[in-house]
């Protein structure tokens, strides 16, 4: 292990990200531009999250990496191995044991605690991008709190489907000010953003933006009085651990059309199975 470039990034890049992170924390939900470096992996693998993790990780941190809730996907395993190699850090699959958790598309079911840092990989940081392609214009919309278009988009859903059809990357408003893309987590996870005791950091590698939700920050999902925000619910409980309150994935069990619903959060599910066994 090369101590000089601990955790892969050079010291100047880390300092630049450090300065941007302090600004992100000071202005919750605001996207801070940063001059990221190229990472040795393709963008789809979460370079933004990897850069944030690399810039905050210390030798005595315990790291957890999840992809869609699972610790054992190819993406999660290779990012975990990357940090074992370049930082020599201890890793874990246990949410409760981790100091830093890098995630793609989920927030763990096990409640986070004060002092933990959750790092999200973000593909598209700008929640207004699908309405307005110009960065200059979206910045102006954020500056003027011109968020009516976002409500129009959600209301078009209601007109067309009778409910808000957006189920992932469901937009939130942070501390009553900035509308923010929570990354492609299921809207099931949105309530966990609100008042969470952990620090949540978001990194977008391609667009080189980072943003933050400090601990205990009010985060509300956008909705309407006559159509309040609702999370996904299932008829089933987890087929493996019996949980009736976790986010479930439908998995195919055989080639005869057999299927079952299981927790997307593998650590949560395995811990529950261990507890009841």
């Amino acid at each position: 292990m090369d101590g000089y470039n601990f955790a892969y990034l050079d010291e100047q890049t880390k300092r630049m990200i450090h300065r941007a992170l302090l600004k992100a924390v000071a202005i919750p939900g605001y996207q801070v531009p940063f001059g990221g470096r190229e990472m040795p992996m393709p963008y789809g693998w979460g370079t933004g999250g990897v850069q944030l993790t690399a810039s905050i990780l210390g030798a005595d941190d315990i790291l957890k990496v999840i992809d869609q809730g699972a610790d054992d996907t190819t993406n999660a395993v290779s990012i975990r191995h990357f940090f074992q190699r370049v930082a020599g850090v201890e890793t874990t699959t246990a949410t409760t044991a981790a100091d830093v958790i890098q995630t793609r598309h989920r927030i763990p079911e096990t409640p986070l605690r004060a002092g933990q840092i959750l790092v999200f990989q973000v593909p598209i940081p700008e929640p207004l991008r699908f309405i307005e392609p110009s960065e200059q214009e979206t910045r102006l919309m954020h500056a003027l709190e011109e968020y009516g278009v976002m409500h129009v988009k959600l209301y078009e859903d209601i007109a067309r489907y009778g409910h808000i059809a957006t189920t992932y990357a469901y937009p939130v408003k942070v501390d009553g000010r900035y509308v923010m893309d929570p990354s492609p987590i299921p809207k099931f996870d949105n309530p966990k953003l609100d008042g969470n005791p952990a620090l949540m950091l978001f990194g977008a590698g391609r667009e080189k933006r980072l943003y933050a939700i400090p601990p205990y920050t009010p985060v509300e999902s956008l909705d309407f009085e006559d159509h309040p925000f609702e999370i996904q619910r299932w008829e089933h409980s987890c087929a493996l651990c019996g949980s009736d309150r976790s986010y479930l994935d439908e998995v195919i069990t055989d080639d005869k059309g057999g299927r079952m619903f299981v927790c997307s959060d593998t650590d949560y599910c395995q811990t529950r199975r261990g507890d009841v066994a």
Binding site: A7, R15, I27, I56, P214, Y216
Partner: protein
């Protein structure tokens, strides 16, 4: 922690002995302080020399300078902290550029005594509020007590923070309270008192009621 030192006119301004790991450790403390406004943290590093005529910068703020500044940053120094020794140490250890123009400064070093609400630091713009000066301020004391209550992001309910009673400390509290009116533009402050550090970003609501 071992110390690497640089002699400047027989005053020893310590650098970080192990830059990669020390700056990571100190940054995480500063990030924690900014994320949970008003919490106190003690930065473990050697103190700079107590040679300045008034309050010295103190170990915590010197640690913040070493952690956050480099040749991409501009630093403004208030007259009461300014000295050839500090300038040399800052340049030697960080490569930061020193500026006389507060609006162009990324970081400003000052004390509660030299704080002037009229100093035109950068507040950022409505579209780029991050382009604001971060103030590193030596204060009289740091304690979670007193009538000044903080609330907002990073604070579960409220948190008391006492930085001192001097006219400068009162002016700092008033300036912090004024951040809400200009949000998202504003000034983020990192306070130091010896090795202790606390931060109050612009997102924090400060109840600045006075007690007589």
């Amino acid at each position: 922690m071992t110390v690497k030192t640089e002699m400047t006119k027989d005053l020893v301004w310590p650098g970080l002995a192990d830059p990669a790991h020390d700056s990571q450790r100190l940054f995480r403390q500063i990030l924690g302080a900014m994320s949970e406004p008003g919490t106190l943290t003690t930065l473990a590093l050697p103190a700079p020399p107590q040679a300045a005529p008034s309050d010295a910068l103190g170990a915590a703020l010197w640690g913040a300078v070493l952690t956050l500044c480099d040749l991409e940053t501009r630093v403004w120094i208030a007259a009461d902290l300014d000295s050839p020794a500090l300038r040399q140490a800052l340049t030697f250890h960080t490569g930061a550029r020193i500026t006389d123009d507060p609006v162009s400064a990324d970081f400003a070093l000052l004390t509660h005594e030299s704080f002037d609400p009229q100093t035109p630091f950068a507040l950022g713009s409505d579209t780029y509020p991050d382009r604001a000066t971060t103030l590193l301020v030596v204060v009289e004391r740091l304690a979670n007590a007193g009538p000044s209550m903080l609330s907002g992001p990073g604070i579960e309910t409220t948190r008391a923070l006492d930085i001192g009673d001097s006219p400068g400390c009162r002016a700092l509290k008033d300036r912090l309270a004024a951040n809400r009116a200009s949000f998202p533009r504003g000034l983020d402050m990192i306070f130091g008192c010896g090795a202790q550090l606390a931060a109050v970003p612009r997102s924090t609501r400060v109840d600045s009621r006075e007690v007589n």
